[in-house]
């Protein structure tokens, strides 16, 4: 991982203005293969697929607005977005970390198998759809704000945390159909969710000790990235959503 003692002089700055996604990604490949381990991208205007095909734990700071599929198929890099991310952030991600100091669009972490995603504010529709886990790989997405419908749809593994920090007192989360088709993993929700907002494959339980310590660790990681106080976030009650059936569609067929 990147050492915190790294000096400013080792950071490579790239002006992404007027670069196509192909040119920008070629530049990133060139820099990382030449040993750069800290890159700043300035003037990013919607270039897609940033961080794909690098395969190294390089840290990339993005200033501006990265385009769709940020970190798609990503394996290794740590990306920090100083702004908002668009759709498909962390699509089929394998390993690495994405931190967004703003919002993210739809299908956050679609089919991700590993890595961590931290979003400071809200996310769009179908966040965490079909996330899955495998052996020691367990994708995690922590969302500071709230999410739109079909949060955690088809979820087959991994952890989604929705903190609702920007919800007013008594205001419930936005999403409906939460966890529709969910058959693995867990969703932790802080703040109010009504039963009608849940998919019919989802159950709700209170957190046990294991959940609480695991969640506290994740919230601390989240808080450290955005200068929040983890203890304050953890004061409010969380609910754990889990799949009622591991095989939601097991009894549909005549053999």
């Amino acid at each position: 991982m990147i050492s915190s003692s790294m000096t400013e002089s080792q950071t490579v700055k790239v002006d992404a203005r007027a670069l196509s996604h192909r040119e920008l990604n070629a530049k990133l490949r060139e820099l990382t293969s030449n040993g750069a381990n800290r890159i700043e991208l300035h003037n990013v205007y919607g270039q897609r697929y940033i961080g794909t095909d690098l395969g190294k734990p390089v840290r990339i700071d993005i200033f501006g607005t990265p385009g769709n599929d940020l970190g798609a198929f990503m394996h290794g890099p740590r990306i920090v977005v100083h702004g908002n991310a668009q759709d498909g952030c962390g699509n089929t991600m394998d390993d690495g970390e994405i931190t967004v100091h703003g919002h993210a669009g739809d299908i956050l972490g679609l089919s991700a198998r590993g890595g961590k995603i931290f979003i400071k504010e809200d996310v769009g529709y179908r966040a965490g759809i079909h996330m899955k886990e495998y052996q020691d790989k367990k994708p995690v997405a922590v969302i500071g704000g709230t999410a739109q419908d079909f949060l955690g749809e088809y979820m087959a593994g991994g952890i989604l945390v929705v903190l609702g920090l920007n919800l007013k007192e008594g205001e419930r989360h936005k999403a409906s159909f939460i966890g529709t088709g969910m058959h693995g993993g867990a969703i932790y929700v802080r703040g109010e969710v009504q039963p009608f907002q849940l998919g019919k494959e989802v159950g709700v339980v209170e957190l046990d000790e294991n959940d609480s310590s695991f969640l506290a660790e994740l919230v601390r990681e989240f808080a450290s990235r955005f200068n929040y106080k983890a203890e304050k976030i953890l004061q409010r009650k969380f609910a754990k959503l889990f799949p009622l059936y591991l095989r939601p569609y097991g009894r549909l067929y005549a053999y």
């Binding site: 192909r22 490949r29 897609r48 095909d53 394996h75 679609l110 495998y134 749809e153 088709g181 058959h183």
Partner: protein, 499 residues
């Protein structure tokens, strides 16, 4: 509940030949045969028989005959036995009827209504035994024009894949078929200079060494898709749909997700592997372009990216969009494309015949001036080299074979793939059954098939007086239609025989 389903097959055992060796008992996975030690007799539960003929082939004394059970319902063209029995089955189970393999209904097989040309008098035919004959095919985007400088070709070509025979093995995932089947396909593809396709179940580490002859699929479940998987492959194929079940996702049931299958799919053992019906990052042509380029970026533009769709009503317009979205290979899977499991009602009723889809797609891409930008590959019901030649003449660059390849490995198309009990050890993950396919022999059978088809294709070309497959590609003047309506001829872009 007592079942009202009558046996489909009659098992006849010639007692004078039967030596009570119990091979049939051991070979059958549907519990048809059982040895009664008290009476020293082998008995049959005919209601279990699926007509796979495993016992017939392996009976050492040829004592067994399996016949269709003559279902003497009162004659009725509308209420045929299959329809009656489907209703019985559903009334007893309340479920979606599942089946395997491809559409078995009597939709017109257009290959059987197309005939090929040959040279007579006015131009000489070529004897492929003594003259060079080329089947080599390059898959991938071709440039609009070529520029040459003093040092040769100046135009940058995008990645091209060379195959020695225009026949590739269709996507069949590990989990649907066994590892031994995939190994047979991979080895045969490598020997014969063509490609096999992982399907959407990931790539087993044992098969990584065949990467140069491997097409890997990226489908809605994204199973086993990781950086190494994309790096190893020769071609990356985005699977949107499949001819056997257009518009339908897939459920690999948990009991088929063995420890090994779990390894390649990269999911926990015993969990259902759900492939959603759509890819949730693709709701439009623009979104498709996004995934095509995501994969090109993820592989640094080193390999072609294909897109596979099921042939449906508006395939031509969709294919045009696919090419514009950056697909280097357009794959069309027709009405008769097979599957390891699909709802019967979908398999038998959704999609269009591949011949019509191919003709209309090739025509559309040509009219739009973008045919060079993608190779067109078709799948779904290619049965022999005659079909291959006709497909090439209709405009395909290459074809996929799935069912034909499985038949080479022993499959008798009994359509029980979805049960996981395949007696031939092909479509199962039961380790007692999968060893029935020996990869050494399997690879040899498949290579033999491709070799036979190659020789026949060369004969067909030679007869036409053509010495390269490229000259037949999209050359519909070499085809004539027999017994087709004007509309059919028009869509196929083929003239009536005799005209």
């Amino acid at each position: 509940m007592k079942t009202y389903l009558p046996p489909r097959f009659v098992v006849e055992r010639d007692d004078s030949r039967c030596i009570r060796c119990e091979v049939c008992v051991n070979q059958c996975t549907f519990d048809v045969h059982a040895y009664d030690a008290q009476d020293d007799e082998i008995r049959s539960r005919e209601e279990n028989c699926v007509g796979c003929h495993r016992c017939v082939v392996f009976c050492p004394t040829e004592a067994l005959t399996i016949r269709r059970n003559p279902l003497d319902y009162r004659e009725n063209y509308n209420w045929r036995p299959e329809i009656i029995e489907d209703i019985i089955k559903q009334s007893e189970t309340g479920g979606v009827l599942l089946t395997g393999m491809g559409n078995d209904k009597s939709y017109r097989v257009y290959w059987d209504h197309l005939v090929l040309n040959a040279s007579q008098v006015t131009n000489p035919s070529i004897d492929p035994l003594r003259e060079p004959m080329e089947l080599t095919t390059y898959l991938g985007r071709k440039p609009d024009k070529l520029e040459f400088g003093p040092l040769g070709l100046k135009t940058d070509l995008t990645s091209q894949v060379k195959i020695e025979v225009p026949v590739m093995f269709s996507a069949m995932s590990y989990g649907a078929v066994s590892l031994n089947v995939q190994e047979s396909l991979a080895r045969a593809a490598t020997q014969m200079g063509t490609l096999w396709n992982t399907g959407e179940g990931g790539l087993h580490p044992k098969l990584c060494k065949y990467g140069g002859n491997t097409t890997v699929q990226v489908a809605s479940g994204r199973f086993g898709v990781h950086p190494q998987y994309l790096d190893i492959a020769r071609v990356v194929e985005i699977k949107i749909g499949q001819g056997a079940k257009p518009g339908i996702g897939g459920h690999l049931p948990g009991e088929k997700v063995s420890a090994e299958v779990a390894t390649t799919r990269m999911i926990p053992r015993g969990t259902d592997a759900l492939s959603p019906a759509p890819q949730h990052d693709i709701y439009s042509i623009e979104d498709l372009a996004q995934l095509v380029y995501a994969l090109k970026e993820a592989t640094n533009y080193t390999k072609p990216v294909g897109v596979k769709i099921a042939a449906v009503h508006n395939s031509a317009a969709i294919a045009s969009g696919m090419v514009r979205a950056g697909a280097d290979i357009v794959v069309l899977d027709g009405l008769r494309g097979a599957t390891g499991a699909a709802p019967k009602i979908i398999r038998d009723n959704v999609g269009i015949p591949i011949e019509l889809a191919l003709a209309s797609v090739d025509d559309r891409l040509r009219r739009e001036g973008i045919r060079n930008q993608a190779s067109v590959v078709i799948a779904g019901g290619i049965r022999n080299s005659g079909d291959v030649a006709k497909a090439i003449a209709l405009g395909a660059d290459a074809v996929y074979i799935g069912t034909a390849a499985l038949v080479a490995l022993g499959c008798t198309i009994c359509q029980q793939c979805h049960t996981g009990k395949c007696t031939w050890g092909i479509c199962t993950s039961d380790l007692r059954l999968t060893k029935r396919v020996n990869p050494d022999i399997g690879a040899r059978r498949l290579s033999n098939l491709l070799r036979g088809w190659s020789l026949e294709l060369k004969d067909i070309l030679g007869g036409m007086g053509i010495n390269a497959l490229e000259s037949l590609r999209g050359n519909r003047l070499h085809l004539r239609g027999v017994g087709l309506t004007d509309t059919e001829l028009e869509i196929l872009g083929v003239r009536m025989a005799g005209s």
